[in-house]
C-alpha cells in the first residue's frame, strides 16, 4: 500500500511490509549525514496538541524542520478551540485548509481516528488518550532492528522482555502487536493485577509467538536480548503501601545487570521515574536515550512517506 496521503493512526493498520518501509526509510535518512533540507521544502506541518506533550511535539517539529518543512503549532489547542465549544471535526476542517500534514495529540481514545475521517490531509496520531501512539511503536521497532538486524530477517529469534505495568501500558500493547509480524520470543514480568490483557496474549498466540512469564525482573534479565521497561503509575494501586513494595521490585540497578548478557539493551519510552536507577546509565546496557534519539529519523521517515516525498 502506498504511503503518500496515508494517515498514521494505529499500529494495527500497518502490515509487515509497511513497517519495513518505515524502518528502511528511517535508516536511509539516518545514513545521509547531511540534512535533507530540500525534501519537503514548502510543506507545512500543523501540530494540534489538545494536551501537553513537549517531547512528542518537539520531536515531530525537529523532524519536519530537518526535512526542510515548516511548522505551525497549536500547542494549547484545548483552550483555543474546545473552550469555545468547537467540535474536533470542525477544528480539523479548519486546520486542513492550510496544513499539508497534521500531527494530533488528544486526551480522548479514538480522537485521531475521528480526525482522519474528516481530514483530506494526512493525520499522524501523536497519542490519543490511552489508546495508540504509533510513532513511538515505529521508533521502538527501529531501535530494536538497529541493535539486532536479525529481527528483520528472522535468522535468530530475539528474546524481548516486557516489564512493569503491562495491563495499562499502551506502548507495550502496540509493540506486541507490531512484533507479531516478526519472529521473537516474548518474556513478560508484571505485578499481579497488571498483567498483559488476554486480548494481546491471544494476538500473540494467533501468530504462534513464544510467550512466557518470568517470576521476577532478575529472571527476565537473565534471558533477554532486549528489556523493555514501562512506568508503574501509583494511581493503579489502591494501596500506597503495596505500590511502594511493588515499585521496589520493579526497579533495575547496575548491580542487577552484572550477570546479564553483554548484548542486553534496556529500553524505556521515557520519562523514567524510578524504574531505572541512575547508575544503569553508565552501563553498556543503557539504551533509552539513544532510543529517544531514534524518534527523529523515524518521524522524518513517517512525514516524508505520507507527504509523498519518500517512497
Amino acid at each position: 500500500m502506498t504511503f503518500s496521503g496515508r494517515h498514521v493512526i494505529s499500529i494495527a493498520d500497518f502490515s509487515r511490509g509497511d513497517i519495513l518501509t518505515v524502518i528502511n526509510a528511517a535508516r536511509a535518512i539516518e545514513m545521509q549525514s547531511a540534512p535533507r533540507t530540500e525534501l519537503v521544502g514548502g510543506k507545512l506541518m500543523a501540530t494540534l496538541f489538545f494536551e501537553p506533550s513537549t517531547r512528542t511535539r518537539l520531536s515531530f517539529e525537529a523532524a519536519m524542520q530537518k526535512l526542510g518543512g515548516r511548522v505551525i503549532g497549536l500547542s494549547d489547542a484545548a483552550s483555543t478551540s474546545t473552550k469555545k465549544g468547537e467540535s474536533l471535526a470542525d477544528t480539523i476542517r479548519m486546520i486542513e485548509q492550510y496544513a499539508d500534514v497534521i500531527v494530533i495529540r488528544h486526551p480522548r481514545d479514538g480522537a485521531a481516528r475521528l480526525a482522519s475521517e474528516v481530514s483530506r490531509v494526512p493525520i499522524i496520531n501523536g497519542g490519543d488518550g490511552g489508546n495508540q501512539h504509533p510513532s513511538q511503536t515505529f521508533l521502538d521497532l527501529y531501535t530494536i532492528a538497529k541493535l539486532y538486524p536479525a529481527l528483520l530477517d528472522g535468522s535468530a529469534p530475539l528474546t524481548i522482555a516486557f516489564a512493569g505495568d503491562l495491563r495499562y501500558g499502551r506502548t507495550v500493547h502496540s509493540l506486541l502487536t507490531a512484533l507479531c509480524h516478526f519472529r521473537v520470543k516474548l518474556v513478560l514480568v508484571a505485578p499481579r493485577g497488571l498483567e498483559m490483557p488476554a486480548e494481546y496474549l491471544q494476538q500473540a498466540a494467533a501468530v504462534g509467538m513464544d510467550v512466557s512469564e518470568a517470576p521476577n525482573l532478575q529472571d527476565a534479565i537473565a534471558q533477554a536480548d532486549i528489556l523493555y521497561m514501562t512506568r508503574l503509575q501509583e494511581e493503579r494501586f489502591p494501596d500506597p503501601l503495596e505500590f511502594d513494595h511493588i515499585k521496589a521490585s520493579y526497579r533495575i540497578t547496575a548491580h542487577m545487570l552484572s550477570d546479564a548478557r553483554q548484548s542486553l539493551r534496556v529500553l524505556h519510552p521515557l520519562p523514567r521515574i524510578n524504574e531505572i536507577a541512575i547508575d544503569v546509565d553508565q552501563t553498556v546496557h543503557a539504551h533509552y536515550f539513544a532510543q529517544a534519539g531514534n524518534g527523529i529519523p523515524v518521524r522524518q521517515a513517517l512525514l516524508g512517506l505520507v507527504l509523498g516525498v519518500l517512497i
Binding site: 494505529s10 475521528l114 488518550g129 489508546n131 495508540q132
Partner: protein, 157 residues
C-alpha cells in the same frame, strides 16, 4: 380476503395470543425479554410479552409480539445487539409469511454507545461504530478507541 384465526388444532399450541398483522420476536434469551419489549414499546405500538416460555432449544425463552408493524433496519440492528439469535417472524393475516434469525450486521453504526467512558465518541457529536469481532457471546470492537466489549456491556443509543 381474511383468514380465520388459527386454533390449537391447526397450529402448534400457542403460548401467547395470536396477532393479525405484525412481528413476532421469538427465542429471546430469557433475561433480555423486557429489554426487547421496551425497545419496541417505546415506539408506540401494542406489544405483548411472553416470559419464561418453554423452549426445546434454549430451556426458557422470551417472546414479544408487536401488532401492526414490521421492523425497520435500525430496529433490527438494535435487536441483533441485545438479542442475537432471536427469530423474527412477519405475520400477515395470521400467517407467518417470513421467518428468519435476526440478521447480524458486521458493524453497528450509531446503535449503541461505546462502553469506554474516555472514547471520543462519548465526548464529541459523532456516531459510534462498533465492529463485530465474535459471536456467542457477541463481542464488538470500537472502531475509534479500539477497545473490545461484550454486547451485554453496551447501552443502546
Amino acid at each position: 380476503m381474511t383468514t380465520d384465526p388459527p386454533t390449537a388444532t391447526n397450529t402448534k399450541v400457542r403460548q401467547v395470543e395470536a396477532i393479525v398483522h405484525g412481528t413476532v420476536i421469538d427465542h429471546i434469551p430469557g433475561h433480555m425479554t423486557l429489554k426487547v419489549a421496551n425497545l419496541l414499546a417505546r415506539e408506540n405500538d401494542q406489544v405483548s410479552i411472553g416470559m419464561n416460555l418453554r423452549s426445546a432449544r434454549m430451556g426458557r425463552k422470551g417472546l414479544v409480539k408487536i401488532s401492526g408493524r414490521e421492523l425497520d433496519e435500525r430496529t433490527l440492528s438494535r435487536l441483533a445487539l441485545i438479542a442475537p439469535g432471536a427469530t423474527v417472524s412477519i405475520i400477515r393475516d395470521y400467517q407467518v409469511i417470513h421467518k428468519s434469525t435476526v440478521p447480524m450486521p458486521k458493524t453497528f453504526e450509531d446503535i449503541a454507545r461505546c462502553a469506554n467512558p474516555n472514547c471520543v465518541t462519548n465526548h464529541e457529536k459523532w456516531s459510534s461504530r462498533l465492529d463485530v469481532i465474535g459471536h456467542e457471546p457477541l463481542h464488538v470492537r470500537c472502531f475509534y478507541c479500539e477497545r473490545s466489549f461484550a454486547a451485554s456491556e453496551l447501552t443502546l443509543v
